[in-house]
C-alpha cells in the first residue's frame, strides 16, 4: 500500500532521511520510532508529497511526486496539531475538506459524532480544546473512508486522559482493516496501534521489527500464552486485533505480546467477547527470546 524506496531528504548537507526503504502492505500498521531528529516527521512529509526527496514513494501504486493528488486521495492525515483558520466553524471546516475530497456533504453531524464530537458543529475551531481539535482532525482525515491513515505524533499535545481516549479511537479505526503509518514517542501508543516498528536513527532505518521484538528490544513487555479451544481461536484473534493487539496462533492457543502494564487487557477483551480461556501463562520477553533461541 505504501512503498518507500531508497528515500533520501537533505536539508543542506544534513540528511534528515537517509536511503530509507519500507514496504507497508494493506492492513499493516507501522510505527516510526526514534528520538528527536531521527527523521520520522520528515519521512511522513515525504510520503504526503510536502517535501522533495530523492528515491521513490508510491501510495496505492501512485507515485507521490507525479500523482500526488491521487496518492493523497487515499490518505487521511492527522498532524500533531490542527493548523487551520481558527475563526472557521467546525461544521464549515468539515464540509470544506469534504469538498476537497470530492464528497458532497450536507451535514457534518454524523462525521463529528463518529469521533465523539456530537453537537460541536456550531462552535468555532478556536473554541475547541486540544483533544477536540485532534478529534476534528481525525474526522477530517476519515472523510471519504480512506484506506490509509498517516499520523504524526498525534497525541503529543494531549493530556493523559485525552491521549488514552484518542489512542482507543485510533485503535478502533485501525482495526477496520486500514493501513496505518504513524510517528510516535510513546511506547503504549506503539504497542496498542502498531504491528511493526521501524527504528529510525539519524535518518537511517536501523531495523524493522514486530511489536513483540520492539518491546524486547526496549527490555519491556511480556507475551501471554493463552490456551483456547480450537473453535474460538479465530474469533479471539479478531477481537484482540480489533483492540490493538498483535496475536499469533500457536499449537494450543494464542501468543499475545503485551506491555507490562497491560497484561490483563487481553483477558478483559476476551471476557467482553464471551470467549473462555482454558489456561494461560505469562512469559517475559527475556524468557521468550531464550525459548526462541532454543527452538
Amino acid at each position: 500500500m505504501i512503498r518507500i524506496h531508497n528515500v533520501t531528504r537533505r536539508f543542506g548537507r544534513h540528511a534528515a532521511v537517509d536511503n530509507a526503504s519500507i514496504n507497508i502492505g494493506a492492513g499493516d500498521s507501522v510505527a516510526l520510532w526514534g528520538g528527536n531528529g531521527a527523521g520520522k516527521t520528515t519521512l511522513i512529509r515525504c510520503v504526503l508529497g510536502l517535501l522533495r526527496f530523492q528515491g521513490s514513494i508510491e501510495v496505492g501504486g501512485y507515485d507521490v511526486r507525479r500523482h500526488g493528488k491521487h496518492a493523497r486521495r487515499l490518505i487521511g492525515y492527522v498532524p500533531q496539531e490542527l493548523g487551520f483558520y481558527d475563526d472557521l466553524g467546525v461544521a464549515e471546516a468539515v464540509v470544506f475538506f469534504a469538498r476537497l475530497k470530492g464528497l458532497s456533504l450536507r451535514s457534518a453531524d454524523a462525521v463529528l459524532a463518529s469521533v465523539g464530537l456530537p453537537g460541536q458543529d456550531r462552535k468555532r475551531i478556536r473554541e475547541l480544546s486540544g483533544g477536540m481539535k485532534q478529534r476534528l482532525a481525525l474526522a477530517i482525515a476519515m472523510l471519504g473512508d480512506p484506506p490509509i491513515l498517516v499520523l504524526d505524533e498525534v497525541t503529543a499535545s494531549l493530556d493523559a486522559c485525552g491521549r488514552e481516549e484518542f489512542v482507543s479511537l485510533l485503535s478502533r479505526l485501525g482495526g477496520e482493516g486500514r493501513t496505518m503509518l504513524f510517528a510516535s514517542h510513546r511506547v503504549e501508543e506503539v504497542t496498542t496501534l502498531a504491528k511493526r516498528v521501524v527504528h529510525l536513527d539519524k535518518g537511517c532505518v536501523t531495523s524493522i521489527t514486530d511489536t513483540h521484538a520492539f518491546l524486547g528490544h526496549l527490555g519491556m513487555g511480556s507475551v501471554l500464552h493463552l490456551t483456547l479451544p480450537p473453535s474460538v481461536r479465530e474469533p479471539a484473534m479478531t477481537l484482540l486485533r480489533a483492540s490493538g493487539f498483535s496475536p499469533r496462533l500457536n499449537g494450543v492457543g494464542l501468543m499475545v505480546p503485551v506491555p507490562d502494564e497491560q497484561k490483563a487487557a487481553p483477558f478483559r477483551v476476551l471476557a467482553e467477547g464471551r470467549i473462555a480461556i482454558d489456561d494461560f501463562e505469562v512469559i517475559s520477553n527475556a524468557q521468550m527470546r531464550r525459548l526462541e533461541a532454543h527452538a
Binding site: 486521495r73 496539531e81 475530497k101
Partner: protein, 291 residues
Amino acid sequence: MTALPASIRLPSAPASVLSNTAAIALRELREAVRSRWFMLYTLAFAALGLGISYVSAVGAGGAGLSGFGRTTAGLINLVLLVVPLMALTAGAGSIAGDRERGMLSYLLCQPVSRAEVLLGKFIGLAAALLACLCLGLGACAAVMVWKGQATQPASFLWLAALSFALALTMLSVGMLISVLARKASVAVGTAIFVWLTLVFVTDLGLMAGAMALKLRIEELFGLSLINPLQVFKMWSLHSGDATLDVLGPAGLYAVEEHGPALHAIFGGCMAAWVITPLAAAAAIFARRSPL
C-alpha cells in the same frame, strides 16, 4: 502502478481542478470578507471616494461640468494610491501567512494540487477586491446620482473595470512576493516597498531619467509601460474625457504614433502584469517546501 487489494474500498476519483479551485476560492473570499483589512480598506476607499464625489458634484453644479467625468478624473488618483496597496498586501499575506500558521502544509496534505491552491487563493482574493471596489465606487456613484450628476456612467464603469484590472496586476505581484517570502511580515513589508516604488519612485525615476539620460520620447513612453500604475493612468485618461495630451510629449507621441492601437497596447501590458507574476509564483510554489 500496482493494483489495490479488492478488500479495501477506494474513494472515488479526486475532485476536479475546477471543484477544488472553486472550494478554495470560496473559502478565501469568506475569510477575506471577515478580515479586518477588508473592512478597513473598504471603509477608507469608500470614505475617500465619497469625499471626492461630493466635492466634484458640488463643483460640477457651479461650473456646469459633467459629474461622472469630473469624478472619474478625481478618482483615478485615489485608485492609483489605494487599490495597489490593498491588492499587494492582500496577495503578500496570503501564502506566507498560511505557511507561517501551518495551514498551508495541512491544506497541501489534502488531495489538492499546488496550482489549485494558488489559483483558488488568487480568485478568492480577486473576488474580495472586486467586492471592495464595488462597495467603494458604488457609494461614489450613489452620491453622483443623488446629486443629479450622473451624466457619464460609461466612463465611471470603465474606471471601475480598469481599477479591477489594476487590482489583479497588483494581486498577482503580491502573490509572487508571498510565495517567495518565508514570513508574512517580510512579505507585507516587501509589498509596501514595492507599492512605494511603483507609486512614487517610478514617477520620479522616469522624470529624472528623461532629463539625465536625455531619453527619446518613444523610450520614455516605452519605459512608462513597464509600470502597471502608469498604464492604468494612461488607459483611464485615454478612455475618459481627458486625452493623453495632459501627460505631455509622451502622451502626444502615444496618441499620434499608436492611435487606436493604444487600447490593445495598454490591455496587453495589464494582461502581462497579471499573467507573468502569477505564472512565476506558480512555478516557484510548485518547487518550494510549504513548511
